[in-house]
């Protein structure tokens, strides 16, 4: 059943043939098949198979299809078309180099993630069974470990836009705190020391764009605040 026609303005750029990026307008008659923005993008790709974007799980857990939708970052697969206006503008995530159309080069983002040593460090020999962790200690990881590395937060952050190489960005910092606060991790001081410079963390100005766009409802600003307090405690 038709639910009316929508207009999609989509950012297009193929480095091999376009001197500059441009916006292309598509029309799509929505049917019951088109629930989310991703369904619409897939239908538009049938109209024009050169339209390029990443997608995989279509249920908001793989983090492939982060895009900028009418000015706000989000996952195309979780954005219900009913919540969008008549005219929908889709651009690549801002602040990262565009490879093609809605596909950005994520390497800068991944590099920042790698810098925080995103793995558990424990200098004690592993026990024969699991390391024990109380439910209360485990609860500290809630709201942190669920990050899907979609980059919606970091690419909405003006501090990251200005210093994508030096400011780690909200996602990497959220993940940094995930390991700092893990009761099983023994490298807390080293982790804090690595963040203790003018840029890595302290470029966060508390703008909180990251919080408003996170498709998983996580709060990087809060995590950054916790690290900031720990750094100030160490300093004080």
């Amino acid at each position: 059943m038709s639910r009316g026609t929508r207009t999609f303005n989509i950012y297009r750029y193929d480095p091999d043939k376009d001197a500059a990026p441009y916006m292309q307008t598509f029309k799509l008659e929505l049917t019951d098949k088109h629930r989310m923005l991703l369904d619409a993008l897939l239908a538009l790709k049938v109209q024009d198979e050169s339209l390029t974007f990443r997608r995989s799980c279509r249920e908001g857990i793989c983090g492939s299809d982060g895009v900028n939708i009418n000015g706000k970052n989000g996952l195309a697969c979780l954005w219900n078309l009913n919540d969008l206006p008549e005219v929908i503008t889709v651009r690549p995530l801002p602040g990262l180099p565009v490879v093609k159309d809605l596909v950005v080069d994520m390497n800068q983002f991944y590099d920042q993630y790698n810098k925080i040593h995103p793995f558990l460090i424990n200098n004690q020999p592993a026990p024969p069974k699991e390391r024990l962790q109380s439910p209360e200690e485990r609860e500290h990881l809630d709201g942190l470990y669920e990050c899907i590395l979609c980059a919606c937060c970091s690419t909405s952050c003006p501090s990251f836009w200005w210093n994508p190489d030096k400011f780690l960005g909200p996602s990497a910092l959220l993940n940094a705190y995930r390991f700092i606060i893990d009761s099983r991790d023994t490298a807390t001081q080293e982790r804090l020391a690595r963040l203790d410079d003018p840029f890595s963390l302290f470029r966060c100005k508390g703008i909180m764009n990251c919080v408003s766009v996170c498709p998983k409802g996580l709060n990087p600003t809060k995590a950054i605040g916790h690290i900031r307090n720990m750094l100030l405690d160490v300093a004080g």
Binding site: E59, G60, C62, K100, N114, E130, Q133, R138
Partner: protein
Amino acid sequence: MGAITPKEDYTNIPHETFDAVIVGGGGSGMRASYQLAQAGLKVAVLTKVFPTRSHTVAAQGGIGASLGNMQEDNWHYHFYDTVKGSDWLGDQDAIEYMTREAPQVVYELEHMGMPFDRNADGTIYQRPFGGHSANYGEKAVPRACAAADRTGHALLHTLYQSNVKMGTQFFVEWIALDLIRNEAGDVLGVTAIDQETGKIAVFQAKATLFATGGAGRVYRASTNAYINTGDGLGMAARAGIPLQDMEFWQFHPTGVAGAGVLLTEGCRGEGAILRNDAGEPFMERYAPTLKDLAPRDFVSRSMDQEIKEGRGCGPKKDYILLDMTHLGAETIMKRLPSVFEIGKKFANVDITKEPIPVVPTIHYQMGGIPTNIHGQVVVPEGSETEAFAAHYDKDSDIYSTNAGDRNFTKPVKGFYAIGECSCVSVHGANRLGTNSLLDLVVFGKAAGEHIIDYVTKHHGDEYQPLPTTVLEQTVARIRKLDDSSTGENAQEVADAIRDIVQDHAGVFRTTALLEEGVKQILAIEPRVRNIHLKDKSKVFNTARVEALEVENLYEVAKATLISAAARKECRGAHTVVDFEESPDHPAYPYGRRDDEWMKHTLWFSSDNRLEYKPVRYKPLSVAAIPPKPRTF
């Protein structure tokens, strides 16, 4: 690394060499790469998507291991449940290996940092899951080690993090295209395309490991990600490797009706109940002991039976309701937070207040590339085609695996496969929930260990010379697409393949439908070979990738329908109405015909030939579990 474009001369082959090339960066591939990188081997992981976007990430409910943290449990129970869950098609040596190793690999994941939920005493939280029981079927036992309902996400990210620690070399958004075999049949590596530049290259390795995942997108309605197109299966089949047991596809009982998105069996593990239009908790009728926690094939059939008999819900009476309203908002938000989100986003349902419409939805492929417990790909010796003769002694109830002198498990030198693309076979005719994540890490580790041994002790520094035709097949396929000026749209052909498989190989199958499906899938071949790529661009051309994927999908579709049409019995997920019998039939309970069909199917792409090989009935150290009627 050097690379060539399709239009360039390919006689001068630029390529890079590795100790091991792993194709696929999901749970099994990264468990193996971790092992190999730790041992200091030179490893390349080719991955179609950034590793944490692999479909392992979508697993929800848990990873099975008899830790016994909640109630008394041991691997013997887990072994028994898995054999029975497999409907006696699983190989009992492999099942023993997996269930015995389970606690160890789960502890290792925990040591790597995996954020499992915890009990008050600090141990890993475990929840009940379908088909998992204590004391050989007596009652349900909590065996699923869980990180809320995000266990796959927690596992995949933890493995990625461990690989970051080890400095594993990933080739992200590189797509393997063809398996390289020499005249002796040894596997020497793969050809691959870099999505970002469109260039192709050769990755040569002493050991090539496929960890390419399942092909759930061969069905129209699937819980699977778009990337699950069976690339490893297609590559293996084209290279002459048979595919095993491809008629066995798991329908997960609780896909969101209409959307296909998965709702974990952990919902029922936490107490959710399936209800028909009268509100009746009907699973009590079908499975008096395990009820809603019977294995998936059993529950899916029961649901479809309810719908068939007119007790489905909704205006079209075409779905079942999953009721969680009695669990309480607190439990739901703590144990099933993602299910809550999915309900809201994909069904407009607040699961704390109302039940959610579900239908059995394709979820998992039990079959795959045949392997042994070391992950080595194994094929029948020689090319004999005589039919496999079953040796079943009805009096002694003993099934002998003696099928003459033929060796059915000859390793293909240099070739390994693990995870959903493989068939070892631990899942047989029906996988138990939580055994999938377990399969990934157990056999990821086992293959890693075997490859280390193979590369360091037996293979030395020698790389075999590549065949002169190494790139021919790959380049021909890419050129054909690049030169195409008319023809079929790739997605339309893929959808046609999906429709055929969906409509002919469902929960309840019939001989007539399966035979019609075979006819249709063979008839569609000209369309598959006549795909027109309109977009010829080089940079990040996803249309080209999707066109190449269709060829892989097609191999899977043929394997599925041809294998299914030939199996004249009901076993696990393969239920053919023509062969259905009652549960208490003296020889064929539920229509399972052990005297003739307790054997694995092997499908060969070259001539659509089927061969059969015996089930490995003898475990490694314990007594075999003899076949019996499968009631729950």
